[in-house]
């Protein structure tokens, strides 16, 4: 059990807003208005140190045609609808609208963005908005074929639909920024003085969403919410009033607020975010409430783990992270007690500990405002992750009961399915690539377009691995990347989710990588470990893997010898990467 004093490494405690911009790349701004305030907020506050650059003043279509400064740049393309779409400009001055022409122009605009975006790391496109005081045709403004609001809504949907297949383009909801700020969102005075239609408050919302999106693209999204119980998931102290006395649901405003908060948390699990409990309580009493209270939206199966005891809460958080296999930077800690929050915040660096409102009616909003869960895509594994953690708990229980590790491993009926990287698996593979820290040989970080481009090179291979056993399917949880240089195959990437570590899947990945390298004509397989603060487990694995250690961090396997797979692991090779005369 890790102790709080030795937890993880000393990391710079940071809010999600002040993320390390060095790894996130520069940001290029294209707009038909003065967007300098947004660039300053990004470079000086939300992503401090980020290099920013403004496109030269010109119509946005011209800026797009001029291309990106380079593939390492991300971009923001923000235009006003009446500047970019001529048909809309006529409609907004009450000429008879030509909706079909406006949609056609929108698709042309989207095509320009798509072409531009292929030269960027990621491109962010805020939706079109009009000033809140623009009432258009009043009660007719949402009438199809007439209303300006209706036409703008169709244009925004057409923009989003046309960009759907551009994997590195993200359409951001600018209307929500405007609504968040309210009447002070728009300033004609600011427009006439600076050619910026939005006030600083709108740009702050935009900057926060941009930072969250960029952090998510780089694997920085939080994946675990650790919750207190009393006065967080329900009103009251369960140890004092029993589960029947808790304020949850019913017709009480606070009770309804707690129930609503639980439903919001449940919603997070459908996005792949895990829940856990760290509570000072009697475990049996607390679990009885979770199991039996009729208004509980969250049940045991919704939690990846729990520490319900009278131990120091910071220690419980550390133990939960170790048990679930996530780092502090993946976690959010929510507690109604300011002293507990302060304790965890100071003792477990990296955990996000937001200030928490005292009024439960504000809990749902507080959760939604965190912005730390943003990811560039949702995968099948994300939606199934709660079930996977429940299966993992069952595995651990069976291991405890089995006693003999070897017998237990043999009883698992592990099946590893390997295939080459495809467009269907790209999103999940990229997510795994960017989120995995512990079992990660090189800890490269690539956007999905970059990973696919790397895999497509003639002298590269990227293989993905799905892992299942008798307790359930863990999904796509492994990846190797190989580079072939004459007789040498280089194991560039070796990535394995901590959820499947310790079941001989690691050895199976090496078995497949070696077999594939032999098929490709290599005589040796070389792995070069690049240390980070988190991937020591990967070095330890390679040291005991049987590979020859030529130096600390360089490991070699001569391919004249087969690297045997564990006999109790079944390998299904869907892409024939290990065959062609060299059966696995």
């Amino acid at each position: 059990m890790s102790s709080v004093s030795s937890v993880v490494e000393i990391t710079r405690t940071r809010s999600w807003r002040n993320v390390d911009a060095v790894t996130y790349g520069p940001l290029y701004f294209l707009a038909d208005f003065n967007i300098e305030t947004l660039a300053r907020l990004v470079g000086n506050s939300v992503l401090p140190g980020t290099e920013t650059r403004m496109a030269l003043a010109a119509p946005v279509m011209v800026q797009l045609a001029s291309g990106s400064p380079g593939p390492e740049w991300s971009a923001v393309v923000w235009s006003q609808p009446d500047s970019s779409i001529a048909s809309f400009r006529r409609a907004v001055t009450y000429e008879e609208p030509d909706a079909d022409r406006a949609i056609e122009e929108t698709r042309e605009y989207a095509a320009s963005i798509g072409r531009f975006a292929r030269g960027t790391r990621a491109t962010f496109v805020p939706t079109w908005v009009l000033p809140p005081w623009h009432r258009g045709y009043g009660p007719l403004d949402f009438r199809p074929g007439l209303g300006i609001a209706h036409l703008l809504a169709r244009m925004n949907l057409a923009l989003s639909d046309a960009l759907r297949d551009e994997p590195n383009v993200f359409v951001l909801d600018a209307a929500r920024w405007i609504a968040s700020v309210g009447p002070r969102a728009w300033s004609d005075k600011l427009w006439f003085a600076t050619k910026s239609p939005f006030t600083a408050a709108v740009f702050e919302q935009a900057a926060s969403d941009l930072a969250a999106a960029i952090a998510g693209l780089n694997g920085g999204a939080r994946r675990l919410v650790i919750l207190d119980l009393d006065d967080v998931l329900w009103g009251g102290i369960v140890g004092e009033v029993g589960w029947q006395g808790l304020n949850l649901g019913g017709h009480d405003p606070a009770g309804e607020a707690f129930a609503d908060f639980q439903r919001a948390l449940k919603g997070l699990t459908r996005r792949g975010i895990q829940l856990a409990i760290a509570s000072r309580n009697d475990e049996a009493v607390a679990l009885e409430a979770i199991d039996r209270h009729p208004e509980m939206a969250l049940r045991r199966a919704d939690f990846a783990g729990w520490k319900i005891n009278w131990t120091d809460k910071a220690q419980n958080v550390v133990d939960l992270l170790a048990e679930i296999g996530l780092g502090a930077e993946s976690a959010v800690f929510i507690d109604d007690s300011a002293s507990e929050r302060a304790r965890v915040g100071s003792a477990v660096p990296g955990v996000l500990v937001p200030d928490w409102p005292g009024d439960p009616s504000k809990y749902r909003e507080a959760l939604a405002s965190l912005r730390c869960f943003d990811v560039p895509f949702i995968t099948r594994e994300d939606r199934a992750r709660s079930g996977m953690y429940a299966a993992e708990r069952t595995r651990r229980t069976s291991l405890s009961a089995a006693g003999d590790l070897q017998a237990w491993l043999e009883s698992l009926d592990v099946v590893v399915t390997v295939e080459s990287l495809t467009s269907a698996t790209l999103d999940r593979a990229t997510q795994l690539f960017n989120k995995t820290n512990q079992m990660n040989l090189a800890t490269r970080r690539l956007a999905n377009t970059e990973l696919m481009a790397w895999a497509a090179a003639d002298d590269h291979s990227v293989l993905t691995f799905r892992v299942a056993d008798r307790f359930g399917d863990s999904g796509l949880t492994g990846l190797v990347g190989l580079e072939f240089e004459g007789p040498r195959a280089r194991l560039v990437d070796f990535v394995l989710s901590c959820r499947v570590m310790g079941r001989n899947v690691e050895e199976t990945l090496l078995h497949v990588a070696a077999a594939h390298a032999r098929v490709r004509g290599a005589a040796e397989l070389v792995a070069e470990f690049r240390p980070t603060s988190r991937n020591a487990p990967c070095l330890e694995f390679f040291r005991r893997s049987g590979f020859r250690a030529e130096s600390d961090g360089r490991f070699v396997w001569g391919l004249s010898t087969r690297y045997e797979r564990p006999p109790w692991v079944t390998v299904r090779d869907h892409s024939d990467v290990t065959r062609a005369g060299n059966p696995a």
Partner: protein, 109 residues
């Protein structure tokens, strides 16, 4: 407007504009901080953002429209925007709605 309220509004506007500045150029929340002038940290965009932000907050506080963005006032030698102190003193002189304003509001058709 009393001095404490005026000072708080000025500091609120400083907080907003400081988010747009690199750490080394952020305005200190003190009375002698220069806003406009040879030693000021704000460029034209920063100054306009500051003034409009302050204008909105003062308008909300006094519940009457307030115009602060006056290019003449910004550049004159004795500009109220010279320092935090001079700006706070200027805001103290601003009043909320008068009895006359209330009467005007009542007689609206």
């Amino acid at each position: 407007m009393d001095r404490d309220q005026a000072l708080r509004l000025v500091y609120d506007a400083i907080d907003v504009v400081n988010h747009q500045l690199p750490a080394s150029r952020r305005l200190a929340k003190s009375l002698d901080t220069v806003i406009v002038g040879p030693y000021g940290s704000l460029d034209s965009l920063g100054l306009i953002n500051f003034v409009i932000t302050l204008e909105e907050r003062v308008t909300d506080a006094l519940t009457v429209p307030v115009e602060l963005l006056d290019s003449t006032a910004l550049i004159e030698e004795e500009s109220p925007f010279r320092t935090v102190d001079t700006l706070t003193r200027f805001l103290e002189t601003l009043d909320g709605p008068t009895a006359e304003d209330a009467e005007d509001a009542e007689v609206q058709p």
